[in-house]
């Protein structure tokens, strides 16, 4: 498909235990990578801070193992963490997907349950 542009927007929302203070403007949308008609963008939904995010490959054909790096200063305990992915092609939304990364009862990853700081 020529000219196909998929935009992957990744929002993360960290622990709803925060008071939800920053009601003002949203964080800027960053570009993680761009190549061959694919753009990966991300934006932080944490009212307190922005974060860093990178993927090691940027192609429409995904390899079986994909390394994603994610850096953030923990300003909350990670009690719950969700990954929301919106796939947008040519301006219209194709897919909205929400994936629980950390649930209080089911720590899937070792960083779940990490303490603030």
């Amino acid at each position: 498909m020529k000219g196909f542009t998929a935009v992957l927007l990744i929002w993360t929302l960290i622990s709803p235990s925060s008071s939800g203070g920053g009601s003002g403007e949203a964080w800027p949308t960053h570009l993680a990578c761009r190549s061959g008609g694919l753009e990966v963008l991300y934006q932080s939904c944490d009212p307190l801070q922005d974060f860093g995010f990178s993927v090691d490959q940027c192609s429409k054909q995904l390899k079986s193992n994909l390394n994603i790096r994610f850096g953030i200063i923990l300003r909350h305990d990670i009690k719950e963490l969700f990954l929301d992915i919106a796939l947008i092609s040519k301006g219209s939304s194709i897919l909205n997907f929400s994936y629980p990364i950390c649930e209080e009862d089911q720590p899937k990853f070792s960083f779940c349950g990490r303490r603030k700081g």
């Binding site: 899937k108 990853f109 303490r115 603030k116």
Partner: protein, 843 residues
């Protein structure tokens, strides 16, 4: 996957960078709850702020470069309950640093590179229940001077440099300790003497987390006779053999809940065989959980040491080889979450009361199960298809009270819950339900309290669909549809309903009797429909209604009677996101919105859709004055128009009176005795006497005419009279043209003199009145007159009301030209003293 692997390394430089960016100025902390909670996160504070009230209970000082804590640092905060000192670069805590914190229950020291801890660092703190010392460079539990903290319930020392699991002697004082988190340390060996304290002071209720420690060896018998509430060992073993021996050596442990497994991002063990959990036979376990093992498990044999466990939970495992779970297990609760199954397992577990089978992917078809004691069944999020729902024969139980089939595939209703009369909770949301309209599906469910049918692609065509649900309290029908988009009378038997969700159902209309029986309903959600009006009549029987959500509809405005008829109990009414038309026509509604701000939810978000200039603006911003102004503008302009026209009519009618009044001031006394000398044939004398004289001499304004029969002086020559009396004393000459006029010699004479006189006095003074149409041939005889009449405007006598009116106006106007307005002249008209019938032989 390398999630977060470098997190710790990245944190400190990033922190330092951010703190450099911060301005030097001291900012006051955020007051979250006045006098109770203060948040001073990342304010670049070098010391503890002194302007925080002493009544503060929660103080967050995290991410400030405090450096070290001197003694009595918090002396003034005697009421403090929670103190957060995360990542404050604290390297040293002096003696008595936390003195006087008699109510402190939680102390958080996460991420501080502690180098020196005075022996009395934690002295005081009689109420401390929770101490978090994660990532504090702690090398040993012995280093923590916390032996006197008898109220301590939770100690979290995860992510430190602890090598030894030796529980220090002071643990014998911590009799209330419930939770010890030692995860992510460097513990490799566990020996008998490490746990001596627990042997000496038994019967504890301790939960121990040792996850992410690289455990190589556990001395046999270390845990013998020890009773724990919970033991968590996740991602501890780097091979299967180590895992097996370690589990073997746990023998004799009595644990309420044992959690084994790995994390999704920390996996070491390969090639799991069925003997992996053999060692568990020597343990006493109530609940067992196994999570996130990479390799596929070879079947139920793995679990044979867990036959007598009451609850078992298998999370994110590859169970594709597991075909069946049969009766030799005495489990009461079974959770199979996010496991890979090739097919729905065959289940025959006679003691099972609670079965949770969720988030298991794979094209599964539900197979009949035999679970005769089952009370709680959760089959959600599996993409299951189910061709014959639902009766006791499928589930093998008649005791079911809770059934969750949400987020599945197609579920075909073939039976109406026969034998499942005990059901209280039923959830089908986001599964596709088939054959819902064929019969009363829920007929026997007279005990059901909760029913969720949201987004099940149900089209309600059959009015008996909800028959039998007499106890139902909560009904969720969002995202379905109704025949003809009209809400029919389907809730007939639900007299106990308190919660009803009908949002997103494409509803356009509500039938009058729809809610007749719902007198206990408290919440009704009608949002996201296509309702154009809020017809209050159907909502009248809802005597207990407290919340009514009408957002996201197409309501333009509410009518006046609708505004008064809401149920009295209503406390929250949501009308946001409708298509309000903010025009004066709906002024009473718009005013009502302003008056009812307490009743209306988010009234400030009610936005106008029309007219275009109000689009997107709040309904509250509509100003009534614009309507009032319009009214005043209209009424004022009507009054003005009326007055102007009255004035115009009056002016028209009393034109000459006004002229008279105005003239009185302007002009002085004139010279002429007469206003006009009338030249006419004596044949037309009737007309002159009856019309001309009558109208001009007796009307307003008053004109004095010179008439030969009346005003000529006897004994003077006719010609002299004509000159002296007629032309000389008159301002104007009126020529009454008629057939007789042209034929009369005197008349023509007079007319010729008039012309001469007009020429001499150079005044435009001759007014022609054509009394009757004169034939052209006759007129041509008098060439002069003929030309004049062709060139000049003349007055034509018409014998009808309008004609006359116009005639007299024009004549008066012509005569007024140059009239000397004087009251005397008007008051003393020249008395006609000398009458003369000089010219009887005129024709």
């Amino acid at each position: 996957m390398m999630f977060f692997s470098r997190l710790a390394g990245a944190l400190i430089p990033a922190m330092a960078f951010l703190s450099c960016l911060r301005p030097e100025s001291w900012e006051p902390c955020v007051e979250v709850v006045p006098n109770i909670t203060y948040q001073c996160m990342e304010l670049n504070l070098y010391k503890i702020p002194d302007n925080i009230p002493s009544s503060t209970k929660n103080l967050d000082l995290s991410f400030n470069p405090l450096g070290h804590l001197g003694s009595h640092s918090f002396y003034s905060f005697s009421e403090l309950q929670v103190l957060d000192l995360s990542r404050c670069e604290i390297q040293a805590i002096e003696e008595n640093a936390f003195q006087n914190l008699n109510h402190l229950s939680t102390l958080i020291l996460t991420g501080n590179p502690l180098r020196s801890l005075a022996l009395g660092a934690f002295s005081g703190l009689p109420s401390l229940q929770k101490l978090v010392a994660v990532e504090t460079n702690l090398a040993s539990l012995e280093d923590l001077p916390i032996g006197h903290l008898e109220s301590l319930k939770e100690l979290n020392v995860a992510h430190n440099l602890i090598h030894s699991f030796k529980l220090p002697e002071y643990f014998s004082n911590l009799l209330n300790l419930e939770r010890l988190d030692l995860s992510n340390n460097h513990i490799q060996n566990i020996s008998h003497k490490d746990l001596q304290v627990l042997h000496r002071v038994p019967s504890r209720n301790l939960s121990l987390d040792l996850s992410l420690n690289p455990i190589d060896f556990i001395q046999p018998g270390s845990f013998k006779g020890i009773r724990l509430r919970e033991l968590t060992l996740r991602s501890n073993f780097d091979s299967l053999s180590v895992m097996k021996t370690c589990i073997q050596n746990l023998a004799g442990l009595e644990v309420h809940r044992l959690v084994l497994g790995e994390f999704k991002n920390e996996r070491y063990i390969k090639d799991i065989d069925q003997s992996a959990l053999e060692g568990l036979c020597n343990l006493t376990i109530e609940e067992f959980r196994l999570a996130y093992l990479d390799d596929s498990l070879q079947g139920a044999e793995l679990l044979h040491c867990l036959e007598n466990v009451s609850a078992i939970s298998l999370v994110s495992l590859d169970l594709s080889h597991l075909k069946s779970l049969c009766n030799n297990f005495k489990w009461k609760s079974l959770e199979l979450i996010d496991c890979k199954f090739e097919q729905f397992p065959i289940l025959e577990l006679f003691s099972l009361k609670r079965f949770i089978f969720t988030a298991n992917r794979g094209g599964n078809t539900f197979i009949k199960v035999k679970l005769p004691d089952l009370e709680y069944l959760d089959l959600s999020k599996n993409g299951l298809s189910y061709t014959g729902c639902c009766s006791h024969t499928d589930l093998g139980t008649t005791r079911l009270t809770h059934l969750d089939m949400s987020f599945n595939g197609i579920i075909t209703m073939t039976s109406n819950f026969l034998g499942l009369e005990q059901l209280k909770h039923l959830d089908f949301q986001h599964s596709s339900l088939k054959q819902m309209s064929d019969f009363s599906v829920f007929l026997p469910l007279r005990n059901l309290l909760y029913l969720d049918l949201s987004y099940t692609h149900t089209q309600v065509a059959f009015h008996g669909i909800f028959d039998g649900l007499v106890s139902l309290q909560v009904l969720k029908m969002a995202g379905n549809s109704f025949q003809d988009n009209i809400l029919p009378d389907v809730f007939k038997e639900m007299t106990n309903l308190t919660f009803l969700d009908l949002s997103d159902c494409q509803l356009e209309q509500v039938s009058q009797k729809a809610f007749n029986t719902l007198s206990r309903l408290q919440l009704l959600n009608m949002s996201h429909n296509n309702l154009v009006s809020l017809d209050v009549l159907p909502y009248k029987p809802l005597q207990s209604l407290q919340v009514l959500d009408f957002s996201f509809n197409r309501i333009v405005a509410l009518r006046k009677q609708e505004l008064q008829d809401f149920p009295r109990s209503l406390a929250f009414l949501n009308l946001t996101q409708n298509e309000f038309v903010c025009v004066c026509e709906h002024q009473s509604f718009l005013q009502w919105v302003k008056d009812q701000r307490q009743l209306l939810v988010k009234a400030e978000n009610m936005v106008c859709a029309m007219p275009l200039d109000m689009k997107g603006m709040s309904v509250l911003s509509f100003r009534n004055t614009t309507c009032q102004m319009n009214k005043t503008v209209i009424s004022v302009s009507v009054v003005i128009v009326l007055m102007v026209s009255v004035v115009v009519v009056l002016v028209y009618k009393f034109y000459f009176h006004l002229m008279l009044l105005a003239g009185c001031k302007k002009y002085g006394t004139g010279e002429s005795t007469y206003d006009a000398f009338v030249i006419y044939s004596s044949q037309d004398e009737d007309w002159v006497r009856n019309e001309l004289v009558k109208n001009l001499e007796e009307g307003v304004p008053h004109f004095q005419l010179c008439l030969h029969y009346r005003d000529f002086i006897p004994g003077v020559a006719i010609a002299a009279n004509i000159i002296q009396e007629g032309f000389h004393k008159s301002r104007k000459v009126i020529v009454v043209v008629s057939k007789h006029f042209i034929q009369s010699r005197w008349c023509i004479f007079e007319y010729e003199i008039a012309q001469t006189w007009q020429f001499l006095s150079s005044r435009a003074g001759i007014i022609f009145i054509v009394l009757q149409k004169v034939e052209k041939s006759l007129l041509r005889q008098q060439v002069d007159l003929y030309c004049l009449l062709n060139r000049n405007t003349y007055l034509e006598w018409e014998d009808n009301a309008l004609g006359r009116h116009i005639f007299w106006r024009r004549l008066r106007k012509a005569l007024l030209d140059g009239k000397p307005w004087s009251p005397e002249a008007a008051a003393e008209p020249q008395a006609p003293s000398r009458k003369q019938q000089l010219l009887p032989e005129k024709k």
